[in-house]
Amino acid sequence: MRDPTIGAAMGDRREARFEALYAATYEPILGYVLRRCPSPDDAADVVAETFTIAWRRLDDIPPGDTARLWLYGVARRVLANHWRGEAQRRRRTTSLRHDLRDEIAAVAADPVEASAIAEAFRDLSDDDRELLGLVAWEGLDHAAVAAVLGCSAGAARVRLHRARKRFSRALRSARSESMAMGPHVPSANGAP
């Protein structure tokens, strides 16, 4: 039987480690989720689930800044699962709390949401969007993108190159379309 005092000390160490990880990664993870998740209830669930997994798998988490990449990977999978299955059902039964949704809408006010750029971006595949997002939003390089996606740096480079090309092409065609239809005024939202 284990000495209970050793157990307690280990528990303390574990908590201290988690605390440190949490302090270092909460903000980037919150940012990651917010940028990909339009609903406040869902975003809150995803952040909570991501760190719940981190707590359970603390021993698997790599040290240093790689921990952040590891957690992006977790958040990515939690998000992907969130749209299916249980979370979906939960979402249906608890419709959004208006004030929370408004808070998100306020913090996330995005004047270009309805623009041709946003449309072109939305039309990309999930994978392409994720690659472009990891680089532009999370500021990752090839190696870091590879760590999040679980592929080689070389593969990340090639996939990113292709995603950028597809996005550029979509932008060009969106631009020529909007020029044909007259100047496009991005609609401002969030402003009452």
Binding site: G11, F18, E19, Y22, A23, Y26, E27, P28, L30, G31, L34, R35, P38, P40, A43, A44, A48, F51, T52, W55, R56, R57, L58, W70, G73, V74, A75, R76, R77, V78, G85, E86, A87, T93, T94, L96, H98, D102, E103, I104, A105, A106, V107, A108, A109, P111, V112, E113, I117, F121, L132, V135, E138, H142, V148, G150, S168, L171, G190, A191
Partner: protein, 349 residues
């Protein structure tokens, strides 16, 4: 890695940038989430099947989902996390931690939908002018850095855990909170004792915007008020009124900054702030929800906040019958019962 011409475009589409979230990990909301998670079963107590699923070769994540076996933090966390996203956190964030375990707030049927009519923006401007003038004549001392601002709040909201409020039952919860003058510490009651917050907590948005400019335009700009962001700025200004005791000059500037926000309209007649008559002013969100700040009709001092639907709206979601939230349905009423400056947490003015 070379950056690409489209990177900036993608960046411009980010809903939020990490820089905007600086300090959020230290907020009570985030602290509560961490605390909740660390009460979960340590991994060696997991059931074998869960452990097996978790062991997917050390790859990030895995398509696992904490099953119902794990207590997934509920609304408290949702409030916490979402509250943390905005610069404004509804007081309920801290409240969750403060309510003794198992204590249920009393439920009531709450007010029936009432008819609401809004006055003109010009009238709101007039009220805000008077509020600013009244503030200038108040002799208030802002707290010193080592003093504490005490607030007692009362929140009436749906007794249901989440979702739009379609009507009663409502529940009312009260909590007390101490914020240190420098905004770096806070304390709340936990199990009947004042409990200090985390060392790095920046629970007060006031501290974040310090020093508050006394020029209304500069103040509005400092809280991020610009086209597309007025609602957020409005909420921040209201939070500044709620959480802190300001100098007369600063408080007047806050009212004048609110006046600069387009679309603020008054509620015709008096609003019931939990038994006290109040002036209600607010911004209309999405054309149907009026987010109000409530002022004392005599002194124009902050009394509380209310969110009320001003137009009926029907919601439909997949696989669920449509439902309608009627105009005049109270969504949230928060009243500040007391505020004052004290020398240490646990003290009341």
């Amino acid at each position: 890695m070379k950056s690409h011409s489209t990177d900036d475009l993608v960046r411009s589409m980010a809903r939020v940038h990490d820089e905007n979230l600086a300090g959020f990990a230290g907020r009570p909301a985030a602290r509560d989430l961490a605390g909740d998670i660390m009460t979960l079963a340590p991994p060696e107590e997991f059931h074998a099947d869960t452990a097996a699923r978790a062991g997917d070769g050390g790859r990030a994540g895995g398509p696992e989902r904490p099953s119902r076996r794990f207590h997934l933090p509920g609304l408290g966390v949702r409030l916490a996390v979402v509250g943390a996203m905005a610069a404004i956190a509804v007081g309920g964030v801290v409240l969750r931690a403060d309510l003794p375990v198992g204590e249920k707030a009393p439920e009531s049927p709450g007010p029936a939908p009432q008819s609401i009519s809004l006055g003109s923006a010009a009238k709101a401007a007039h009220v805000l002018d008077r509020a600013a003038k009244a503030a200038e004549t108040r002799s208030l001392d802002a707290p010193g850095h080592r003093q504490w601002v005490y607030t007692k709040m009362k929140l009436t909201s749906s007794a249901k855990p989440a979702g739009l409020v379609r009507g009663g039952p409502y529940k009312t919860e009260a909590w007390e909170l101490w914020r240190r003058g420098d905004g770096k510490q806070f304390a709340g009651f936990k199990n009947g004792k004042p409990q200090p917050g985390h060392e790095t907590v920046s629970s007060s948005v006031a501290a974040k915007y310090r020093p508050l400019p006394s020029d209304p335009e500069a103040l509005l700009q400092k809280v991020g008020g610009s086209k597309g962001h007025y609602f957020m700025a409005y909420q921040t200004l209201v939070t500044l009124l709620r959480d802190t005791v300001h100098s007369a000059e600063t408080e007047a500037a806050i009212f004048r900054a609110i006046k600069l926000i387009p679309g603020v309209t008054p509620v015709e007649g008096r609003v019931d702030a939990a038994g006290r008559p109040a002036i209600g002013l607010g911004l209309t969100v999405d054309g149907w929800l009026h987010e109000e700040v409530l002022l004392d009709p005599e002194t124009y001092a902050y009394l509380g906040e209310r969110a009320i639907t001003i137009r009926s709206r029907t919601f439909e979601s997949e696989g669920e019958p449509a439902y309608t939230v009627k105009a005049g349905t109270l969504q949230r009423l928060m009243v500040r019962v007391a505020i004052g400056v004290v020398d240490k947490p646990g003290q009341r003015p």
